[in-house]
């Protein structure tokens, strides 16, 4: 199964030539309390949220970015961490996902140990290997409380061919900027080229490969950590 990036057309019902802007749909998963909401908020709103609460079900945030002159909508689907929400509730949101962001809390070893279960969840939702995945260790501003070393995390990331980013949604100055992390994903997605119209007219179902990707070329660069 090929991953598909979507094109949306402009407002339905207008006769103007469609304003196509691509949509990258990214799902953010990980244990409860690791900071998924803060990360997505930080990226979309540009600041650390005042107060975040437990996410119930799925929250949605969006940001329009520009890469090489192309405007792209990045949609972040921020999911509840508690396990009971996953089984019957969240699967709807795995559909047509273009990338996955796994989040753990560097000050919480249990959240790191849960990662295999999250990877397994993705597998169960039939996300193909070609769907980019990244690993984010959050809260690394809390230096004194770190329980998961960069080494350990890096090994894990390598073994799953994911890049690792350590950051702090709260204070990202010394680390990977949250913005840069999501931009990296967006660049990666942009370089993957099989495209599909998001709402093909009747009878035009199916993918329309527009350009063969340089995916092989890039895979090496992708697999190493930044």
């Amino acid at each position: 199964m090929e991953s598909s990036l979507e094109l949306t057309t402009s407002l339905p019902g207008t006769s103007l030539p469609p304003l196509r802007s691509r949509i990258f749909k990214i799902i953010v998963i990980g244990d409860s309390g690791v900071g998924k909401t803060c990360l997505t908020y930080r990226f979309c709103a540009g600041k650390f949220p005042d107060k975040t609460e437990a996410t119930i079900g799925v929250d949605f945030r969006e940001k329009v970015i520009e890469i090489d002159g192309e405007k792209i909508k990045v949609q972040l689907w921020d999911t509840a961490g508690q396990e009971r929400f996953r089984k019957s509730m969240v699967q709807h949101y795995y559909r047509n996902v273009h990338a996955v962001v796994f989040v753990y809390d560097v000050t919480n070893a249990a959240s790191f140990r849960s990662l295999p279960a999250w990877i397994e969840e993705c597998r169960q939702h039939s996300l193909g290997q070609e769907v980019p995945r990244i690993l984010v260790g959050n809260k690394c501003d809390l230096r004194d409380a770190v329980q998961v070393s960069t080494d350990t995390a890096q090994k894990f990331a390598d073994s799953h061919s994911m890049p690792l980013f350590e950051t702090s949604a709260k204070n990202p100055n010394d680390n990977d900027h949250v913005e840069a992390i999501f931009m990296t994903v967006a660049h990666k997605l942009k370089s993957q080229k099989p495209l599909v119209l998001s709402q093909p007219p009747p009878g035009m179902e199916g993918t329309m490969p527009m350009r063969k990707s340089e995916e092989e070329e890039e895979r090496n660069a992708w697999a190493c950590s930044c």
Partner: protein, 406 residues
């Protein structure tokens, strides 16, 4: 008079300052009626339910402290002692509860001193763990704390503890199963309600494949998670406590329907529609919506929603609606009620397969709507009575008939 009042709410809610004097007078009268209902022996629970549903709800937290226990049929004479400390460390959900309560800052009144808030948060943890510990069949879910905090802030710790326990084993029971399958099942009633009232909105949402998760937090927190004004939250709790356990899903449908224009103007894709709907407006006309939700409950009772194939009896009124209440009161598990009803209905539907049933009218004639509204007052109160399990339907009905339209 009841009808007239309901009708006027849509145009100008007295709560918004128009006709303030009039509202003050009615408010005073309502306080009097509530006091009267509380003072008789046995307490007039049916009247209290009507007060909780009707315009303005129970008005003050002071009144809520006295009436909510009656609505839940809770005896407040022997309140439990404060739970022992060791519940905390030993409970499997302790960490999740702690995590959720510690970050639930927004549920507390702005301006409350940190120290006081922190004390309440500790009490909140205690209540939740106390109830979970005593009822091992109940499972904590994120959002449960949003409900409990409302009871804590209105009632204080000891009273909140007993009421929350009762609520958890009844209204919230389905949400607290080991899995959320039953919760999902209840959410599945959202779209059929919307379809009956506005097929266009329904079709649009189906086409967008928006799903129903946008309403999940509404349902399982009784809107406590999404409404920032505490007064609105408690007003809704008055309503829900007085009604059938499935009323929150009707209220969710009413909110979507209230925003029909926005929905139809939205881009027809999952993300846009989910985003729009999950951002709940904070200035909803609550009294109007409450009245509409009750109206829809009567027009499309759960049993009818379950019966998708054929609506053989268009005359769904108090009697058959009452069946739902009766079942619900017997089991207090809305989901199992729905399932059982659906099974019954499926069989009935098969038998009547040939009877033509294009009858589902999207827009009912005005006059009929008003009649329905009148019935609503009756049936909602009836259902409430059934929940209280005090008397049989026949004994309640005549009494209500007299009292409903003062």
């Amino acid at each position: 008079m009841y009808l007239k009042k309901s009708k006027s709410v849509g145009a100008s809610s007295p709560l918004n300052g128009i006709g303030k004097q009039d509202w003050d007078a009615r408010r005073k009268r309502k306080v009097g009626e509530i006091t009267q209902a509380l003072s008789v022996t046995p307490v007039d629970v049916a009247a209290l339910r009507r007060m909780a549903i009707s315009e303005g709800g129970l008005l003050t937290d002071e009144i809520r402290c006295r009436v909510w226990p009656k609505l839940l049929n809770v005896n407040t004479d022997n309140l439990p002692e404060k739970p022992a400390e060791d519940i905390r460390e030993n409970h499997k959900d302790y960490h999740q509860v702690l995590l959720d309560v510690r970050r639930s800052l927004r549920r507390f009144p702005p301006g409350m001193p940190d120290e006081q808030r922190e004390g309440l948060q500790e009490e909140l943890i205690d209540i939740i763990l106390y109830v979970l510990d005593r009822n091992p069949q109940l499972h904590y879910y994120q959002g449960y704390h949003d409900i409990v905090v409302t009871f804590l802030l209105v009632l204080g710790e000891r009273l909140a503890t007993v009421l929350v326990e009762k609520l958890s084993t009844h209204h919230l029971r389905d949400f607290m199963d080991p899995t959320m399958d039953n919760t999902k099942h209840i959410l599945n009633y959202l779209m059929p309600i919307i379809e009956r009232v506005n097929p266009e909105v329904h079709d649009f949402m189906q086409q967008a494949e928006v799903g129903t998760i946008f309403a999940l937090s509404w349902l399982i927190t009784w809107f406590g998670h999404v409404l920032s004004d505490f007064r609105h939250v408690v007003r809704l709790y008055d309503f829900f406590l007085a009604c059938h356990p499935l009323m929150p899903i009707y209220f969710a449908a009413v909110i979507v329907l209230h925003r029909e224009e926005e929905v139809l103007d939205c881009e027809c894709d999952m993300a846009s529609v989910h985003h729009l709907l999950s951002q709940i407006p904070q200035d909803l006309p609550y009294e109007t919506l409450i009245s509409r939700a009750g109206d829809l409950f009567v027009q499309f009772p759960p049993s009818e929603l379950a019966r998708e194939a054929a609506q053989q009896h268009s005359q769904q009124t108090a009697a058959s609606t009452f069946k739902d209440f009766e079942l619900a009161s017997a089991q207090q598990r809305p989901d199992s009620v729905l399932r059982r009803r659906r099974k019954d209905q499926a069989m009935a539907a098969q038998a009547q397969a040939q009877s033509q049933s294009q009858a589902m009218v999207a827009v009912r004639p005005r006059a009929k709507r008003l009649v329905r509204l009148a019935v609503m007052g009756l049936t909602v109160a009836l259902g409430a009575a059934a929940l209280a399990v005090v008397n049989t339907a026949l004994e309640w009905a005549p009494k209500l008939d007299l009292q409903l339209f003062p």
